[in-house]
């Protein structure tokens, strides 16, 4: 919750000069679109889209056995994360609920964490409370973060920063290029190949301008980012996952390291283990609706017998599929692909069915 004026990102003026429509998102004025969400979305699936995600929180974790210290509160095998590699992981509470989902990159002498904008302050307090003496989490929330995403992203970036040519999915490098120090990971939130590039705020406009100078690159806003991630079946914190949902219910069991599943020795591990062993009451599933009307977050779901079945947590119109798609939690017995459900939309029943995820295949450079 933010009860003060929204903050601006370092690229605020840059966005406005490129025709962005700015909206308040998680306490920041962010570009929701430039040309239009559908155009930007489709460009990310065919070319290269440049997103500003500087509202997200970058933070470094350093000190002896920093990885082991982080493992107290996250589900991933961070100790086994090699230098130069990045991993998706989940920050947990005592009850087995998800405090945040985050990326962790190993840069040798420190870990780089990328946290959700609306959670970053709470995350830092939560992680810090569980750190041993000597391990320090240092927020770098003033740093900018750009995402270059799409099938042309690698070719574009390799021309500007040759070191990126050798990277594969989830690689992470620190390098000096475009006049500044950069952190670059080959990852993103669109389902496409792409990179996330961190830099000091003062250099963000220069880097963004250098990337946009390539005719294959177009700016894209958070509107397209949301429809892209939903097509890719990637959960949005606050919608699809939160402190009331376990990783098992959220279908994020893959984010619990194999070694961690032997010991369950992370905060909330016992509760997650119980959900894993007994099965959760509800599961997050993909849903496709008949017709063209988007069924959005908050809509309640019913099974074929009319009994309560769950709730939509994210829903939009998928530009790549020209059809509505959604994510939602349904009773575990209804979570199999093809299960017919209904949602009530403006007093009318809309037919949906459980659909495999992702809706649009991932195209990572593995």
């Amino acid at each position: 919750m933010v009860d003060h004026e929204p903050q601006t990102v370092p690229l605020d003026a840059w966005h406005r000069s490129h025709g962005a429509r700015m909206v308040d998102f998680a306490g920041y004025l962010m570009p929701v679109q430039y040309e239009g969400i559908i155009t930007e979305h489709l460009h990310c699936r065919t070319g290269a889209a440049l997103f500003d995600v500087s509202h997200m929180g970058q933070a470094t974790l350093a000190g002896p056995a920093a990885a082991a210290a982080l493992e107290r509160v996250v589900t991933g095998d961070i100790a086994a994360l090699k230098p130069g590699r990045q991993r998706y992981t989940l920050l947990m509470n005592q009850a087995g609920g998800i405090v945040d989902d985050l990326m962790v990159a190993n840069f040798g002498n420190h870990l780089l964490l990328v946290l959700n904008a609306g959670r970053k302050h709470a995350d830092v307090a939560h992680i810090t409370a569980h750190l041993p003496t000597g391990v320090t989490l240092t927020p770098a929330f003033d740093r900018a973060l750009l995402a270059l995403q799409g099938p042309q992203a690698a070719a574009v970036l390799a021309e500007l920063i040759p070191a990126t040519a050798a990277m594969r999915f989830m690689d992470a490098i620190e390098t000096t290029a475009l006049g500044t120090d950069l952190t670059i990971t080959r990852s993103g939130y669109t389902g496409e190949d792409g990179f996330e590039i961190g830099m000091p705020a003062a250099h963000a406009a220069d880097v963004a301008t250098a990337l946009l100078a390539d005719p294959r690159v177009k700016p894209a806003g958070l509107g397209a980012r949301d429809s892209l991630r939903l097509e890719a079946g990637l959960p949005l914190y606050g919608n699809d996952i939160d402190e009331s949902r376990t990783p098992i219910a959220a279908n994020l069991g893959f984010a619990i390291g194999k070694r961690r599943k032997m010991t369950w020795d992370f905060l909330g591990g016992a509760a997650v283990r119980a959900a894993h062993d007994n099965g959760p009451a509800e599961r997050l599933v993909g849903l496709r609706a008949e017709g063209r009307a988007p069924v959005r977050a908050g809509a309640t779901l019913h099974d074929a017998a009319g009994a309560a079945a769950g709730q939509i947590t994210s829903g939009t119109f998928a530009p790549s599929l020209d059809a509505p798609i959604a994510l939602g939690y349904v009773r575990a017995d209804l979570a199999t692909d093809g299960t017919a459900l209904t949602a009530t939309l403006r007093g009318r029943a809309i037919a949906l069915h459980v659909s495999p995820l992702p809706f649009v295949p991932h195209r990572y450079a593995r």
Binding site: I37, G223, R292, A293, P294
Partner: protein, 124 residues
């Protein structure tokens, strides 16, 4: 002779006899962004002034479209079902939403003139 008036809900209303044609303004379509779905009232339905009777969905959100005046729906624009993006391309002409036989022809005159609507938009 048709006259065009506007509402603070960003709708345009064109009157021919006692039949009003209603759509959303260019300002509204621009603010909504890409329109992906339009739900329209069925002919024969009686609507009260300010009653929500159509829905326009963009990628991001659903918005109601209101009956600017009381009356009976006589027709809706079936072309919008097949091509909702027409709302973005031709909001103030081809992408009309529905036609309404006004219960009270005189009520039309209280709607905003083009100049008054422009002034309203600029005040936002």
């Amino acid at each position: 002779m048709t006259e065009i008036r506007f509402t603070k809900d960003h709708e345009w209303v064109s009157l021919d006899g006692d039949i009003a044609t209603i759509g959303i303004t260019d300002h509204a379509q621009s603010a909504l962004g890409d329109v992906v779905f339009v739900e329209l009232p069925e002919p024969g339905r009686s609507v009260a002034e300010a009653e929500a009777c159509a829905v326009v969905e963009s990628v991001k959100a659903a918005s109601d479209v209101y009956a600017p005046l009381a009356g009976t729906i006589t027709e809706h624009n079936a072309a919008l079902a097949d091509d909702p993006a027409l709302v973005n391309k031709d909001a103030e002409a081809g992408a009309w939403f529905f036609k309404l036989r006004l219960a009270d022809r005189a009520a039309f005159d209280v709607l905003l003139t083009a100049d008054a609507y422009q002034a309203f938009v600029q005040s936002l």
